[in-house]
């Protein structure tokens, strides 16, 4: 049934179906999107698992990510080298975690990675200030930013060290009613 596709072997598609939240059709569609980002770089035949990575600048210009203030951090947290170069596996992984069907715990782990700008496993005040400035595009004055970040840390910090560890973050985010609905990209 359907077209006989030659991009992936059946075994590969099964593996993708089990390891991500996508169906076969969606995986093929994702490959199409990946390919059109750089048609001369991305091979059409993935049966031999080619080693092809697209740079950050190409991925960040996708319409789904273009308007997102955290687009750079999102791509960086899913890339293995931390620089934002995504192979197709990482590309699929990124959209799988951000899809509707990913559970809250998984999304919370990656959300923490995204908001952790200096990658030190803690959300310190500077991370929060950077997040806030990206959110509001620097429309708040520095004093207001300081006040808001201070209040945010006060609210979420459980162990009193003036920064948010993953436990603090997860504790706060599990009670947020709209986390699942906002932290989701449809592709």
């Amino acid at each position: 049934m359907g077209n006989k596709q030659t991009i992936f072997t059946d075994e590969q598609l099964d593996a993708y179906q089990d390891c991500t939240f996508f169906t076969r059709k969606e995986i093929l569609r994702l490959h199409g999107r990946y390919h059109e980002l750089a048609p001369h770089l991305v091979p059409m035949d993935y049966t031999k698992d080619p080693d092809c990575k697209l740079p950050l600048a190409l991925i960040v210009n996708m319409p789904e990510l273009k308007e997102n203030p955290f687009r750079n951090r999102i791509v960086e947290s899913f890339s293995e080298d931390g620089m934002g170069n995504l192979s197709f596996n990482e590309f699929v992984d990124m959209f799988s975690v951000l899809s509707e069907m990913a559970p809250r715990e998984l999304k919370a782990i990656y959300a923490f990675k995204i908001y952790d700008f200096n990658v030190d496993n803690y959300l310190c005040k500077e991370d929060l200030e950077k997040t806030l400035n990206k959110l509001t595009k620097e429309e708040l004055t520095p004093e207001e930013v300081e006040l808001v970040c201070q209040k945010a840390i006060e609210e979420a910090d459980l162990d009193g060290d003036n920064k948010l560890s993953f436990a603090d973050f997860e504790n706060m985010i599990t009670r947020a009613p709209d986390f699942l609905s906002t932290f989701h990209i449809r592709i």
């Binding site: 390891c19 708040l140 985010i173 947020a176 449809r186």
Partner: protein
């Protein structure tokens, strides 16, 4: 000489040993290293890697042995089974890692028995089917696309209004189903439908006034007769009553459930109504935004939310700084304003009384048909106008009373809901009072509710097309005229629109006993209202900058609905239990029948044990133990909640103290390390430096009293 120079150079280069040796910044470098070795961090990392380790070790051995061989700390037995059947997608590793785990699982499958593998594949299949069904059901909900558009353009609050509207449509559909089952069905089969023909005096006006043709139709109470279904416990009046009570009871359960669920979502460890800034920062941005206009809008929403929060902070600061004479003056002002509000309410009630008296006392034939139509509709017109203007006046009044923005909105809302429900209640009381001795007063009640319901819908329609749309055209075509300046930009005022919905649903509940087809009318009008409001919002309104928070306001909506339902139940109860309305002259109870007659007949036919039980349940001897039990259960829940709260506070304190213990110890460790390094080079200076700083050698937790 050379050595001195070297020493000086060394001194300049190694900054840490001279200043800021004990500041937290320079300790950061050491802290991260030692933090990595702490058992708690190790355990955290272990949790995340546990599945892959488990799978690796299970693949290396076969059978039940792997369970004993895992020696990575204190893992419990239970989760192991879940871990190997946990979906691969939920694991936190890159795709290659998941692929390896999958291959390992595949190899493992050949080691387990036939039944295990069959069970496992069945559970995976069932999970997939359930997920697909869930997705399909979600897609069946109507108007999803509209809701998404509205959410994108106007924010969560306006979307919450439309979600509430959709919920009310479903509720009314459920009522229709119940009515057709309990009331219309038996009447269709067993009742007589002889007088459903157009009579001589009928006209189209009957559809508006509820008289004539409509009076004799199934729309009103008077149509239903005892019919031929006459078993003692299964007759038309009993079914009628059962239908109405089921409707009210089901509505009660659904509304209470949604109120409680919504309340649980907004209750966060005692911080009930405060703004949660951390949510705004981390969950504020909607990742699915794709076009620039929505992004700019969303950004302005977030900025306004934060500005609102900052404003509330500065307001509470200002409030704390109020001097005594200022406070006295403010309270006096608030008292005067409350008196004004009460007098406005009193005036409104008098107006309604006057309108009801006029409408009841007029005789139909001495006026032109249009005048009589207006006079018949006078009470609904008055009520609607009162409900239209007074809430806006309340809004203006509350802005003078110097409350924070949220309190202003809540105060206006409270006053408006009191106005709406009380005006309905007063109206019912006046109608009740004035139709004391008229035959078939149920039909009269039903007629009034029918007229109220109709006029509500008419008012919504006129508001949209005769007021909102021209105002928008005025803003567009002549933006600099005086009128445009006066009217200002149109915003979709969520609280007032929700109040309208709650009011119309309350009217539907109050009237369902007297006018059984009211839910059907309600469904149709609500669906039409959805499209009218959609038109108003998308074409005529501009997004409001200061918004009510979406999730907490849904609790408020459902709570107001609950108030309306209680009022409807109270009205019905009063109607049944007042002595001189016990006998009916029309309707399914027949001439001279009553509620107690009918139920008494049924109870008398039950077996004697059931009768004694029922008698006991309705006597006072049962009520007292029941109340006592409820009080005891409530007390136990409340005290358990308080004990949990205390435990949470204590645990939080412990957490803070142990964390500062940890930091103190790490600092000490870092200092000692550095001291060891520096004793070789700058011994004298370092010791002199360190001594005055080292005045606190006691950990924080033992310092506290």
């Amino acid at each position: 000489m050379e050595e001195l120079d070297t020493v000086n150079l060394v001194r300049v280069m190694s900054d840490d040993s001279i200043h800021s040796s004990l500041s937290s910044d320079s300790c950061e470098y050491y802290q991260t290293e030692i933090f990595d070795q702490l058992p708690s961090v190790q355990a955290c990392r272990l949790e995340q890697n546990r599945q892959s380790l488990l799978e690796a070790s299970e693949a290396n051995q076969d059978g039940p042995e792997p369970r004993e061989n895992i020696s990575h700390g204190h893992l419990s037995r239970g989760p192991k089974d879940k871990a190997s059947t946990r979906p691969l997608r939920n694991l936190v590793m890159c795709i290659q890692g998941k692929r390896n785990a999958r291959d390992r699982r595949k190899m493992q499958i050949s080691n387990i028995g036939f039944w295990d593998s069959w069970r496992r594949s069945q559970s995976i299949y069932m999970k997939r089917v359930m997920a697909q069904m869930g997705g399909a059901l979600k897609g069946l909900l109507p108007w999803q696309q509209t809701l998404r558009t509205i959410n994108g353009r106007f924010g969560v609050g306006v979307k919450a209004y439309f979600v509430f509207l959709r919920y009310l449509v479903f509720l009314n559909l459920l009522h229709c189903a119940l009515i057709s089952g309990f009331i219309l069905g038996p009447t269709a089969f067993y009742g007589s439908s002889a007088h459903l023909k157009f009579g001589a005096n009928d006209s189209v006006l009957d559809f508006f006034l509820g008289t004539g043709y409509l009076d004799r139709s199934p729309v009103f109470f008077g149509f239903y007769t005892r019919g031929s279904l006459n078993l003692p416990c299964l007759n038309t009046p009993l079914l009628y009553l059962a239908g109405i009570f089921t409707i009210l009871f089901l509505s009660l359960i659904m509304v209470v459930r949604r109120t409680v669920v919504g309340y649980k979502h907004t209750w966060i460890l005692g911080k009930q109504y405060s703004v949660n800034v951390s949510y705004k920062i981390f969950c504020g941005w909607d990742f699915s935004i794709q076009d620039r206009a929505s992004a700019t809008l969303k950004r302005s929403f977030i900025r306004n939310d934060l500005k609102l929060f900052l404003e509330e902070q500065s307001f509470s600061l200002r409030e704390a700084q109020r001097t005594l004479p200022q406070k006295v003056r403010l309270y006096l002002l608030r008292f005067i304003f409350n008196l004004i509000v009460l007098s406005l309410l009193g005036g409104a009630f008098y107006l309604i009384y006057f309108a009801t008296k006029t409408s009841q006392n007029m005789s139909a034939s001495e006026h032109h048909w249009m005048v009589s139509l207006v006079l018949q509709y006078l009470p609904p017109i008055t009520i609607t106008f009162v409900n239209l203007f007074l809430p806006h006046m309340f809004r203006k009044i509350s802005s003078f009373e110097d409350y924070s923005f949220t309190t202003q909105v809540n105060a206006t809302l409270l006053r408006s809901i009191f106005l709406k429900l009380a005006s309905l209640g007063i109206y019912l009381f006046f109608v009740f009072d004035q139709t004391k001795n008229q035959p078939c007063r149920e039909n009269i009640f039903g007629r009034e509710m029918y007229k109220l319901s109709n006029f509500n819908f008419l008012a919504t329609l006129c508001n949209a097309f005769l007021f909102s749309y021209p105002r928008k055209l005025l803003q567009e075509k002549y933006p600099s005229s005086l009128l445009a300046h006066l009217s200002g930009k149109q915003h979709f005022l969520i609280p007032f629109n929700v109040l309208d919905l709650v009011y119309s649903q309350t009217v539907s509940w109050v009237g369902v006993y007297y006018c059984p087809l009211l839910p059907l009318i309600g469904t149709v009008t609500l669906m039409a209202t959805f499209y009218i409001k959609k038109f108003t919002v998308l074409r005529c309104c501009v997004a409001e900058q200061r918004m009510l928070r979406g999730s907490s306001s849904s609790v408020l909506f459902h709570f107001m609905l609950l108030l309306g339902l209680i009022m409807a139940a109270v009205t019905l109860g009063v109607n049944f239990w007042i002595p001189n309305t016990n006998t009916f002259s029309c309707g399914p109870f027949g001439n001279g029948g009553s509620l107690f007659n009918v139920t008494g007949e049924c109870v008398a036919r039950l077996p004697s044990s059931a009768q004694t039980t029922l008698r006991y349940l309705s006597s006072e001897a049962f009520a007292l133990p029941l109340i006592l039990t409820e009080v005891i259960i409530l007390t136990s829940y409340v005290s358990r909640g308080r004990a949990n709260q205390k435990a949470i506070e204590r645990l939080k304190d412990m957490l803070v103290l142990s964390s500062s213990d940890k930091r103190f110890l790490v600092k000490q460790h870092a200092t000692m390390l550095r001291r060891q390094k520096n004793t070789g080079r700058v011994r004298g200076a370092a010791i002199k430096e360190d001594n005055p700083r080292n005045n606190s050698t006691v950990p924080p937790s033992t310092r506290t009293n």
